[in-house]
């Protein structure tokens, strides 16, 4: 569907060359909701604009539905763009035109008949739930309503791909939820491939199937959202994941722990991570029932990503060294990821 092959982009300003993108390889399948996350300046905005060639790569190739974009004439490129909708952080609606005219614009550009335009625009306004605002001007709408109009406009030409450029970054959390739900509905109802860029991991965890993490113009990690949330490898990814799933021990717990630590020498501290099936099984209960080690749960956190439960838990296991090792093996057998935490590591772990 969408393929990046060794794509690089560099800008030259006053003789200084800045590399915005560095050897990007990425494949986005039809029907995916693909999230691209990164801090500002990571290059995600440039990357998403390459899909409709608003930005052209200096090296490499962007391939949409088996067509390399660089091989297209200006005319062909325009017709490809008509099948790629785009929504923006600041909506970019025409302030001088009514909601109806805004949604109608892409259809006017392709010279649709008046009757066909009217029918399609009302259909779209119904879909985004704003039929009654047809004669209003954008400035009379709230941010969430403006983005809905942006979405309706982007869908006017029945695109195959929808690009979302920080589409929820200017909205409050509640409105963000409703816009994300709408995007999900679009993906399911029309099988439109969605590529969205964001700096909020919350957005990724809610609607994306797959995610790529960008840093300094490179994709440092990508894969299914679940996988990435479960086992983030890169530091930046871990930071993003921890913004949704808190995996640092609260300071209060750390202080208590130090007090306990001084009394018990035959104990060890572990971080347990549950993913999917293992999160629903009573593994800890069984471990306790075995009665060989004392399980002291210090801190636990559960969250839901893509309808799958992700859990992390800090436990202190007390008992003989052999018993502790056995307990760890038991947990690992039951698909729980176990990491031993050194005592020194407790303080100030992860900033």
């Amino acid at each position: 569907m969408i393929k990046f092959e060794h794509v690089s982009k560099q800008y030259e300003r006053n003789g200084v060359i800045t590399k915005a993108l560095h050897d990007i390889n990425l494949t986005i399948e039809r029907g995916d909701i693909y999230g691209i996350i990164g801090y500002s300046g990571a290059g995600k905005s440039t990357l998403v604009r390459m899909i409709n060639f608003l930005e052209r790569p200096t090296e490499g190739e962007v391939i949409i539905q088996n067509q390399p974009l660089s091989s297209l004439s200006t005319h062909q490129l325009r017709s490809v763009r008509r099948k790629i909708g785009m929504i923006f952080q600041h909506f970019n609606l025409l302030e001088s035109k009514t909601v109806f005219d805004n949604v109608a614009t892409p259809l006017i550009l392709v010279k649709e008949s008046k009757a066909a335009i009217k029918k399609r625009v009302y259909e779209l306004l119904d879909f985004v739930g704003l039929r009654d605002k047809a004669e209003n001007y954008p400035k009379e709408l709230s941010g969430g309503q403006k983005q809905r109009i942006g979405i309706a406009r982007a869908l006017a030409n029945s695109p195959d791909i929808l690009l979302c450029d920080e589409a929820t970054s200017a909205l409050d959390p509640q409105t963000t939820q409703s816009i994300l739900a709408l995007l999900k509905k679009i993906n399911q109802q029309y099988q439109i491939t969605i590529v969205l860029i964001t700096h909020e991991m919350q957005v990724i965890s809610q609607i994306c199937d797959k995610v790529a993490v960008m840093e300094r113009g490179r994709i440092i990690e990508n894969g299914s959202v679940l996988e990435l949330f479960g086992h983030p490898k890169q530091r930046t990814t871990q930071n993003f994941v921890s913004s949704v799933i808190s995996d640092a021990i609260p300071t209060g717990v750390v202080e208590n722990l130090q007090a306990i630590e001084s009394q018990h020498t035959d104990s060890a501290l572990f971080k347990l991570e549950f993913l999917g099936r293992s999160a629903t099984k009573p593994v800890i209960n069984e471990l306790i029932l075995q009665g060989k080690v004392v399980v002291n749960i210090l801190f636990a956190h559960m969250s839901e990503v893509q309808k799958t439960v992700l859990g992390s838990m800090f436990v202190q296991l007390q008992g003989g060294q052999d018993d502790i090792n056995q307990a760890v093996d038991y947990l690992r057998d039951h698909e729980v990821q176990v990491t031993k935490i050194e005592e020194k590591g407790i303080n100030g772990e992860r900033s």
């Binding site: 763009r81 008509r82 970019n92 025409l94 892409p106």
Partner: protein, 244 residues
């Protein structure tokens, strides 16, 4: 209805004439109300014709400046440089100098360099680049995001100008034309130098050269009222265009 309108107009004009004649009798001036009306007509003629032609040329040039500039929709460095330099060149001449400097050209175009008709050519050449600059500024104010959205929809450059830039800049363009109109009225005062007549010329030739203070006072009042009204109407229309 038409007759009624005519009656009203006639009544209005005769009231205007008697007021001015009354003022004239108070302050003693050699000018009659008819002189003022004739001058006002000449000014109106010069301003409206020049504004029409100047706006068409100016808007066209303004669009050209915006699209051919670096990072524009249709980058064309030589054309941009040429337009930019030419406009600056003309804009650096005070109108009175431009008026005289292009007399041969004016003769070539309209056959005479004298009178109201003779003033229209230099006035147009004076105002068109001015409008072009103002239009350029108005269009550059259009949010870059709007242009990006247009491009992402697969709009052609002409479509971007017509369906996106011009509607978004419309309110600002109205103010631009308002400013240009007032600038034109300003310039017509100097067109008297080639015998074009007009309100400004009246003030200069009677008020200044013949020490007729009343002529100056009346002219000043007329000009203030005219400019105020134009600005008020312009502001109103611009507000309307912004849907406020």
């Amino acid at each position: 209805m038409e007759q009624f309108n005519q009656t009203i107009t006639t009544a209005f004009i005769s009231a205007f004439i008697s007021i001015i004649d009354y003022l004239g009798s108070l302050f003693s001036t050699r000018l009659t109300a008819m002189d003022f009306i004739e001058a006002a007509y000449q000014t109106l003629l010069m301003v409206s014709i020049t504004l029409l032609i100047g706006a068409v040329i100016g808007i066209f040039l303004g669009i050209c400046l915006v699209v051919t500039r670096p990072n524009g929709l249709l980058v064309n460095r030589p054309l941009f440089r040429f337009l930019n330099t030419t406009i600056n060149l003309i804009r650096s001449l005070p109108f009175i100098i431009l008026l005289i400097a292009i007399i041969p050209f004016t003769k070539l175009i309209v056959g005479t360099a004298f009178g109201t008709v003779g003033a229209i050519v230099p006035l147009t050449i004076y105002i068109a680049p001015y409008i072009a600059r103002l239009v350029e500024n108005s269009l550059l104010e259009v949010d870059q995001g709007i242009i990006e959205a247009a491009e992402s929809m697969g709009a052609t450059p002409i479509q971007i100008i017509w369906h996106f830039m011009l509607p978004e800049a419309f309110s600002s363009l109205i103010l631009t034309l308002t400013t240009a109109t007032i600038g034109l009225i300003n310039a017509t005062a100097m067109a008297g130098a080639v015998g074009a007549g007009g309100i400004g010329d009246l003030a200069l030739s009677y008020g200044y050269r013949r020490f007729d203070t009343t002529a100056i006072i009346v002219t000043v009042i007329i000009l203030i009222i005219t400019v105020q009204s134009i600005q008020t109407v312009g502001n109103y229309l611009a507000r309307k265009a912004r849907h406020e």
